[in-house]
């Protein structure tokens, strides 16, 4: 029935009776013939984390610490801002003692609130936070590359079962995303709690009562976003490597 084979596998689909509309959108029609529902990919990613729990913990640990550091530093600034807003000279002196960059008395014409807003961390502290985040990201890339390499055969098998490259990418991104969010949440909260505690120890009760909830909320959100973002960034390269593997290479890999 079929003469010489058609140039495109449209002929293939036609032969097996699959409906094949012509024109634009044809590629998407075929693409949808192999699917991985989102809920299922979530299930699989979660299962993978659960099974490799210890390994996940180690990957996440460095993220938790780095995000905690970030959150701690930012919370410290929040505490200081709250204290400056009170306008009390005693607290101001205490802040200057602790190393915050403030003039001895408020400059003419500026309100306490303005000063509080401008109060940031010093350049040195910023650098340390940045470095710790960088180190953490490198650690994540390394851990994820290792994870992908370990699972070469699994990936090759899934491709033999018909998985598209995008499925593999999605599974790894989801895994890393979930780890990132969980770890960042833990780190951000932990860092915040310690930051407030240290403020309390240094400056007394005023440190706690003067805290603006909005400030804290922003700090929390920012820390989590940074942590999750880095986690995803760290897994992009390894996941792309995994997704692009040809099944036969994947299965030849020694385990």
């Amino acid at each position: 029935m079929d003469g010489p084979p058609g140039p495109k596998a449209g002929g293939y689909m036609r032969h097996t009776g699959a409906v094949l509309p012509s024109g634009p959108g044809r590629e998407t029609k075929i693409a949808r013939q192999v699917v991985l529902p989102f809920r299922k990919s979530l299930e699989i990613s979660l299962q993978n984390i659960r099974v490799r729990f210890f390994r996940s913990m180690i990957t996440v640990a460095s993220l938790v610490l780095a995000v905690a550091f970030l959150s701690f530093t930012l919370t410290g600034s929040n505490v200081a801002a709250g204290l400056v807003r009170t306008g009390e000279p005693a607290l101001r002196a205490a802040l200057i003692d602790a190393g915050y960059d403030l003039p001895g008395s408020p400059p003419v014409g500026s309100s306490a609130a303005e000063e509080a807003r401008q109060l940031g961390t010093g350049a040195k502290e910023r650098w340390i936070v940045l470095l710790s985040l960088l180190v953490c990201t490198v650690g994540i890339v390394n851990a994820q590359l290792m994870a992908v390499t370990e699972r070469f055969r699994e990936i090759g098998t899934m491709k033999c079962l018909g998985a598209l490259d995008s499925f593999i990418l999605r599974l790894f991104l989801l895994e890393a995303g979930m780890q990132g969010v969980a770890g960042s949440l833990l780190g951000a909260l932990g860092g915040m709690v310690i930051g407030v505690a240290v403020g309390f120890v240094r400056f007394g009760l005023a440190a706690v009562t003067q805290l603006s909830v909005a400030d804290l909320g922003r700090t929390l959100f920012f820390s989590i976003a940074v942590g999750a973002g880095l986690s995803l960034l760290g897994v992009v390269y390894p996941a792309l490597v995994a997704a692009r593997m040809r099944p036969v290479e994947a299965m030849r890999a020694q385990e």
Partner: protein, 245 residues
């Protein structure tokens, strides 16, 4: 009923691998046609190009020259989506190392291809249990591969390969990691399923026990087909160790 047509046609396929400075010619021009419903074994010593030919047929690798046609469609022309569709629906794979996904239960392993094919969870589970029943492992459906023996894992792999009712099953050394009796069981199972369902089975193997059940045997040596023998021409008696009464 239409006469048996060629489900796989290999035409002038050659493959060379370059590993750094060295060039290895795995296949030197192979021609082969395989009919629907056949049980074909590709046999040959290690390094003969058996696995390479096998990978070509299964669309796992591209030939350096020549063409492979599945159902008269040149698979080199297929894009990634169409290849995925092919692997999902038309071909079932069985490997020497079973290749089950360790984090999933037997049932989940069997239903995974069905999920890719878009089946609903209920349909998939129902069909998965049915297939596991066919291979005699229905009660062990909730067990993970670590909790199953080699023979049982291979049986799960066979059930998985039948998930989307494929036309072709490709078995790469299915009995390679199994002992004599288990290997025999697997071969009998494969033969039974293939004749019941009209599935074409193509296996690459060292195992002489396969000869008894094959319709044709292709002998490969040094990247070329040595000879192709049909059932009548096969005259090998294999002694059985530890045979059952």
């Amino acid at each position: 009923m239409a006469e048996a047509h060629n489900i796989v046609r290999v035409s002038g396929v050659a493959k060379t691998f370059s590993m750094g400075a060295q060039v290895v010619t795995a296949l030197r021009g192979v021609d082969l046609t395989i009919k629907v419903g056949e049980y074909l074994s590709i046999m040959g010593p290690s390094g003969s190009g058996k696995s390479t030919l096998f990978n070509m047929i299964g669309g796992l690798d591209k030939p350096s020259s020549g063409k492979v046609f599945i159902d008269e469609v040149d698979i080199a022309q297929l894009d990634a989506y169409e290849l995925a569709w092919l692997r999902n629906r038309k071909i079932g794979y069985i490997f020497q190392t079973f290749n089950l996904i360790q984090v999933m239960t037997a049932l989940e392993n069997v239903t995974l291809p069905m999920i890719f094919a878009g089946a609903s969870q209920d349909e998939a589970v129902e069909k998965g249990l049915e297939l596991l029943g066919l291979v005699g492992l229905r009660e062990r459906h909730a067990h993970k591969p670590q909790e199953l023996s080699g023979g049982q894992q291979q049986r799960v792999a066979i059930a998985r390969s039948l998930a989307n009712t494929p036309s072709i099953i490709l078995a790469d050394e299915p009995t390679g990691n199994l002992d004599l009796t288990t290997g025999e069981e697997i071969i009998t199972l494969l033969k039974r399923l293939s004749s019941e369902r009209g599935v074409t089975v193509i296996s690459a193997t060292h195992d002489y026990k396969m000869l008894n059940v094959s319709d044709r045997v292709v002998w490969i040596r040094d990247g070329r087909i040595d000879k192709i023998e049909g059932r009548e021409q096969l005259d090998i008696s294999v002694g059985t160790i530890g045979s059952k009464d």
